[in-house]
Symmetry: C2
Subunit: 345 residues, 2 copies
Amino acid sequence: MSDRVPERANESHGGLRDLLTDLPEPDAASVAAVHARAEEILRPYGALAWLDGLAEWVAGWQRTAVPRVEHPVGLIFAADHGIAAAEEVSAYPTDVTAAMFAAYRQGRSTINAFARLAGATVEAVDVGIGRPTGDIRFEAALSPARFDEIVDLAIAAVDAVDGDLLVLGEMGIGNTTPSAAIAAALAGGETAAWVGRGTGIDDAGLDRKRAAVQQAVRRIVGVTDPLEVLREVGGSELVALAAAVVAARRRSLPVVLDGYVVTASVLPLVLTNDRALDHCIVGHCSAEAGHRKLLERLGKRPLLDLDMRLGEASGAALAILLCRAALACHTGMATFASAGVSDRS
Amino acid sequence: MSDRVPERANESHGGLRDLLTDLPEPDAASVAAVHARAEEILRPYGALAWLDGLAEWVAGWQRTAVPRVEHPVGLIFAADHGIAAAEEVSAYPTDVTAAMFAAYRQGRSTINAFARLAGATVEAVDVGIGRPTGDIRFEAALSPARFDEIVDLAIAAVDAVDGDLLVLGEMGIGNTTPSAAIAAALAGGETAAWVGRGTGIDDAGLDRKRAAVQQAVRRIVGVTDPLEVLREVGGSELVALAAAVVAARRRSLPVVLDGYVVTASVLPLVLTNDRALDHCIVGHCSAEAGHRKLLERLGKRPLLDLDMRLGEASGAALAILLCRAALACHTGMATFASAGVSDRS
């Protein structure tokens, strides 16, 4: 092991490690009840297999044979990044983070429009706007104490959720850079392959971004603890996302993940406990380079694939509509019995 | 040319041929207005490129700079097939067509649930239940007179639509068999590759189905007119679907196509006039073998890819939600100007 391994490698990371050792499982009876009901509905066996599986997934994690997606809630964690202030790794200046946060609060951003359509409420949670992380090329993004503080903030945000499905998104100019660093450090392979254009940076910016990610990854060579990698090269909203996923599990809230940043944020969880993301689906495959590869690594198939690269839970919010569709076609349906048709020829 | 070429090859096919020679184009000014508005919205340039394109598409075909999807209407054309009565090419008996038709009318089928979620109304249109087509292995599916009659029925159904978006679906036990025959006859290649399991037929059934399609395709060797192929080896609801697409064009109604059967039904149109499907998008890529290949042939990328194989406009109905999302994020949005952010760094 390198002498760069932080002393803190075995610490609790805001209680995340403890929470990850004893995760609740889905309720098998609820899953079975929904499965049995699906087989009676007047449609060819397996014709909606994926949607039926989605209904079972909601039932299992909500722990009820009558699953509902009537009050989905989106949390958008927002924060600033030291790397973005120090180096041009984004097509936009860092004050856009605060401008977008204001737009969420005013209900005037894309996510608000999608949420209204999906019958969801959205809450933007400031976990570090105006308080940028360390520049990950040279120092840890977050101190141990700050990491713990953000975990607590995120758990409190999830505990305050009054809903039946949790949708997670993020905003933070520059945050595909720490995301790429996490992916490169933990999933390996060519670093450059994890680095995309984010909001649309030009070729020179992409080169700067790749160099920054390489520098950050090299700085933590020898750090093997996934949660420690998250603290070292992640970011405030990335830590919040990871903590929110774990907190949702304990509240029986199924989770819809959004794009590249969210997926990279939760990678440390599944590398700590390989069941950690069982209660999560991925709403959308982002156009950001690396997301598809990361999803393959996680064995998660995204519900949507619309070339979007916006973040802010936009892809996950659209996926709510498919979750609602999956449940809608299980209630009040004609059955083989009611139609007087034998269920197989 | 073979002596099997029907005499009728140059006839009008219920006026379809005439309608196809003089198709309206989209309104360029409406498209440009929506495009310009999209560029002002506070989100990275191109981050929602596909959805923005969808908004422009609706605007162009609705011929308005203020496109709306507030009253989408689904038409499900239903009919019976001679081949299904004569040979086991489906996992279900032919009376399921009538049972499903009743379920649509009662609002108790999957499509009804999806339509409610999408804010759409659905109308099931009987174009031949209890009046099966000819067995396409041995004879034309439809006489010239019956073909014309169905075209008229479909045009009347579209003329009666009070809505802003048309969604097309179908029901007809056995109808993936004529669909495969149309695809094989017009798109060529290995016949077997166009034949899938439909509602879920077993291996022996799949063999019967392939043999039936081969026999039908061989019967019409030499028939080169795409509309004549549709009459020879198609089916009543397939003709209705093709006619409805053309009728919608003349009513400035953008169209969302459903799965394999719908796509096969409209293939003869685009082979008659290569602009014939410009006002159509494909809602969903079906799990039915052949659909993906057919979509590639048409150059259409489906909005959804959820392994569904139900028909009845189910995939297209879910795609309405994405059309609504595309429009929802164009109205009332924060702009770069309102947020005081320059639009590019």
